[in-house]
């Protein structure tokens, strides 16, 4: 049972990572990043690492996307308003 | 418990933390004085540390977590003579860089000093650590500070490109480093150099050990700018503020090589004993490629800072050759070479900064004769002396180190020629540039790439404008560094001291015993006097560098004529230059290929 769950989560990490990399448009990529982050957090959970889970949640789903989205916003404004 | 080692590391770091809070409040002059005090204190601490390592290895267990029952869970600083000397070199170069930065930088200086102190502390920690993961943390600390320093001139597209390339390639290297740490940890259940070495010793290296070694060394060689992990260096050095360049070229790159030697001799040497020679050959090959590529690219550059950057790559190759010979004599030579090169290269970057300060440009071709017109006599003299010293002229420390490596590698007939190539070509390039800038010789036409003309367009941001006089605080650091290099080179008996230090550096069982049981056992070795012929070789190399510079100044039009012929003589060099495309994706592709090649060669060597 444990092994099956672990295998499933690892496979999903691999698949979602590949999807993120192959999504070329940055905004779409941020959206594709969410399932990757979730699957990575699940992996940390099944690997019994609650501290890492908490860190990955606050970093992967809070700090990181905010920074990337703000940076993308600035890039867009650069273009609109050179 | 000895407090000097952690203080040497944390005085600059705590100094940076305090300054980060003060920097918006206090006046620039106060901040400068504060930084000067912190830097001098750090240098003194490093010197004290060096003094203490003469009769034992200095240990510090963070948090008092000493090893017990053969298990070491604490984090250690483990300082031997070579580690402490490296820390002292960092301190000296940082001091020179700070003095230079007083008059040089105007914009962004509020943050500059904080970053420089963090950078310095990270490097010192890297030099002193005896723990694999602390090595990684210090690697990243100095990397992040260095990326930020490279991006100081944020209005300049080139600066951003250099900083991005630096960060991307070094990040890839750090992933390799950390994956290697993961493999080592999985095998040994330890992060302490000594305990890992003790655990690995005695069993022949299998796949896990070999792959861990390659991953760790790849991460470190990325920092050391060894071909093909070297691409980031020239982009970063060409744009970084001059005081940062002094530290980048003078010691940061060499720290990658120091780390390579450290992890090899403390952790892997026991497991690789029968295959040591073969693995050494792999390192020799990488070093030879680095010498040739760096030297050729150096000679083809016209942007002074970029020229010096490629020269650093070539010299890093020489040091790697010293490590690849896998004996303590060559290691001693490499250590002296690091000091000699660091001081000379620091001085040369300071000189480039002075040229930039006075003329507002760095492009050798467009600067032709400007040095003479501006009557920069002291600068021109220092430039020429530095060029000769870079070529290996006695009695500077770099030439001494080179002759020691030559002696240690007597089995390879091609070795002296390879080392001479590095010295002659890079020294020749510096002398050629001096001849053109200060003598007005040669032509101001040449084959131009974007990087060559880059300087003219953007460099004026670093200083306010072209200045009429060279302030003393700018030229003093260059003079002091050169003088120091001369003193080290003339130091009677230095070679003996360094050979003993190197023999202790490679003595894995004694290192492990000192760390794990506290019983230090320092061996002493008999040393041999350097050959008299070394002086003549050094003079010959310097003469060859002068000749190369003069020929290239005289023959510039010929190169242009070569091009027009049906057979394009410049074509191979054009291919080489095109490979240095300035694009991060290219660099990462080469990084991956390089990792595969390095891994494949090591596979062959270990099998």
């Amino acid at each position: 049972m444990t092994a099956a769950v672990q295998t499933l989560v690892m496979l999903s990490v691999a698949v979602f990572a590949t999807v993120v990399v192959l999504t070329r448009d940055p905004l779409h990529q941020i959206i594709a990043l969410t399932p990757f982050s979730i699957s990575l957090i699940l992996l940390f959970t099944v690997l019994q690492a609650p501290d890492v889970v908490l860190s990955a949640v606050v970093v992967g789903m809070l700090a990181w996307p905010v920074m990337v989205l703000l940076a993308l916003g600035k890039l867009r404004r650069n273009e609109v308003d050179p | 418990m000895d407090a000097v080692a952690p203080l040497a590391m944390f005085v600059p770091l705590a100094g940076a933390a305090v300054l980060a809070g003060l920097t918006g409040i206090v006046h620039r002059v106060v901040a400068d004085l504060y930084v000067l005090v912190v830097t001098i204190a750090t240098t003194v601490l490093c010197a004290v540390l060096l003094r203490r390592t003469t009769d034992h290895r200095v240990l510090h267990w963070f948090g008092g977590w000493r090893p017990a029952h053969g298990n070491a869970i604490g984090v250690a600083l483990t300082v031997d003579t070579i580690g402490a000397a490296t820390a002292l070199l960092i301190g000296v170069l940082a001091l020179a860089a700070f003095i230079f930065s007083w008059r040089h930088l105007e914009s962004g200086s509020r943050h500059f000093h904080v970053l420089m102190l963090l950078f310095e502390g990270g490097m010192i920690g890297f030099a002193l650590t005896g723990d694999l993961f602390l090595l990684f943390v210090c690697f990243e600390l100095m990397s992040v500070a260095a990326y930020a320093l490279t991006g100081l001139k944020m209005t300049d597209a080139g600066s951003m490109q250099g900083a991005i390339n630096f960060a991307v390639v070094n990040s890839a290297g750090s992933f390799a480093l950390l994956l290697g740490i993961g493999l080592v940890y999985a095998r040994t259940g330890s992060l302490n150099f000594a305990l890992i070495g003790q655990t690995l010793a005695g069993h022949p290296a299998d796949g896990t050990v070999a792959v861990a070694l390659v991953l760790l060394v790849t991460g470190l060689l990325t920092k050391a700018a060894i071909v093909p992990f070297h691409f980031w260096l020239a982009d970063a050095h060409a744009v970084a503020p001059t005081p940062a360049c002094v530290l980048f070229s003078g010691i940061m790159v060499e720290l990658g090589l120091y780390g390579t030697a450290r992890i090899y001799w403390t952790m892997f040497s026991g497991a690789l004993v029968p295959r040591q020679h073969a693995f050494g050959l792999v390192l020799l090959g990488l070093g030879a490629a680095t010498i040739v590529v760096g030297g050729m690219m150096c000679f083809l550059q016209h942007n002074l800072k970029r020229l010096l950057a490629f020269s650093t790559i070539s010299h890093a190759g020489v040091i790697l050759v010293g490590l690849g010979l896998m004996n303590h004599d060559a290691l001693a030579g490499a250590a002296v070479y690091v000091v000699g090169h660091g001081l000379i290269k620091g001085a040369l970057f300071v000189m480039a900064g002075i040229v930039l300060h006075r003329t507002g440009a760095l492009d050798e071709l467009s600067l032709r004769g400007r040095g003479r017109a501006k009557r920069m006599w002291p600068s021109s003299a220092l430039f020429i002396v530095s060029g000769l010293a870079l070529a290996g002229a006695p009695p500077f420390a770099l030439g001494l180190g080179k002759s020691m490596i030559d002696d240690a590698g007597a089995g390879y007939w091609w070795l002296p020629w390879l080392l001479a190539f590095s010295g002659v070509v890079t020294g020749g390039a510096v002398l050629r540039a001096s001849g053109r800038i200060f003598g007005g010789w040669g032509s101001d036409e040449g084959i131009r790439y974007p990087a060559d003309t880059y300087a003219e367009l953007h460099e004026e941001h670093e200083t306010d404008a072209a200045h009429e006089r060279t302030p003393l605080v700018l030229i003093f650091p260059a003079f002091a560094l050169l003088a120091l290099s001369l003193v080290v080179g003339l130091w009677h008996g230095l070679a003996d001291h360094v050979e003993i230090a190197a023999a202790r550096f490679v003595d894995r069982p004694a290192y492990a015993a000192a760390v794990l049981t506290g019983h230090d056992h320092l061996i002493s070795v008999s040393t041999k006097a350097p050959a008299v012929s070394a002086t003549f070789i050094g003079i010959a190399e310097a003469a060859a560098a002068i000749a190369l510079a003069l020929v290239s100044l005289a023959c510039q039009p010929v190169t242009a004529r070569w091009r027009s012929k049906r057979v394009d003589a410049y074509a191979p060099m054009a291919v080489l230059r095109d490979l240095h495309s300035g694009r991060a994706p290219d660099y990462v592709a080469w990084f991956t290929l390089g990792l595969a090649v390095f891994g494949g060669l090591t596979y062959v060597a270990v099998h």
Binding site: K74 | M1, L13, L115, A148, S190, G207
Partner: protein
């Protein structure tokens, strides 16, 4: 190199690297299995965490005590990154700051009702308290200075970005965030130096271990968590606000 050549170089390398890595992991113990040697570090830490330090979370014991110096390096690294971001995203000579309230006048005093603001502030306060909880219980449950610090930062960022621009300006300009960060990082190192003065080594756990399972357990582990919290929180706030400031308020001079 064109795209095809680059891809070719990469793929050749990638195949080699993959094969090489497989050679490396083949020599490891199977997933989930270990030799006693491989587990000795973990066993050493587990032996130390709860009996010696009265900390029930072994990970925090590693982060803040056994390998506390790594965390000191990490706080300094965060400081370097933030100072670097502030420097790189500063206003250039040929740029001007257009205060956000002039930039987007329609957002000034939007018809946001008092009730909405009260709700926003209470939610933010709740998240803030959660952050404090995570910081304070790091030695007991999953959490600690870093995780709690980021959670602490979240309400500040949301409030400042969502608030009236006058509020944003009042809290963003000025050096308060930077000074708090510097004080926190300095305090962290100060605890380290205190250990040196005691003669027990940098970052030694010099406070008594307290009683297992309470907030006051684990000595300097709890103290360092409480220090790391604001250090991380201010770093995250500074990073987000500086990018936001750059995005909204800085533009090329006309």
């Amino acid at each position: 190199m064109n795209a095809r050549a680059r891809r070719g170089v990469f793929l050749v390398g990638a195949v080699g690297v993959f094969g090489y890595l497989m050679w490396g992991v083949a020599g490891l113990n199977g997933f989930g299995h270990h030799t006693q040697t491989a587990l000795r570090y973990a066993n050493g830490v587990v032996a130390a965490a709860s009996p010696l330090r009265h900390a029930s979370n072994a990970v925090t014991t590693v982060v803040m005590d056994v390998r506390g110096v790594d965390t000191a390096g990490e706080e300094l690294l965060l400081l370097a990154a933030i100072v670097g971001m502030l420097m790189v995203l500063r206003k250039a000579d040929d740029e001007e700051i257009v205060p956000a309230r002039l930039e987007a006048p329609d957002r000034v005093g939007t018809g946001r009702s008092r009730a909405t603001s009260v709700v926003a502030v209470s939610v933010a306060a709740a998240v803030g308290v959660l952050g404090l909880y995570i910081v304070a219980h790091g030695q007991l449950t999953p959490g600690g200075g870093f995780q709690g610090g980021v959670v602490l930062a979240a309400p500040s960022i949301l409030l400042l970005i969502g608030a009236r621009h006058e509020t944003f300006e009042r809290f963003h300009y000025g050096l308060a965030w930077e000074i708090v960060q510097a004080i926190a990082v300095t305090a962290f190192l100060g605890v380290g130096v205190a250990g040196l003065i005691e003669g027990r080594g940098f970052l030694a756990n010099i406070v008594g271990p307290g009683s297992l399972g309470t907030v006051y357990s684990a000595g300097t582990i709890a103290l360092l968590n409480v220090i790391a919290g604001p250090a991380v929180a201010t770093a995250v706030v500074l990073a987000a606000l500086q990018i936001y400031h750059q995005m909204i308020e800085i533009r090329r001079e006309r």
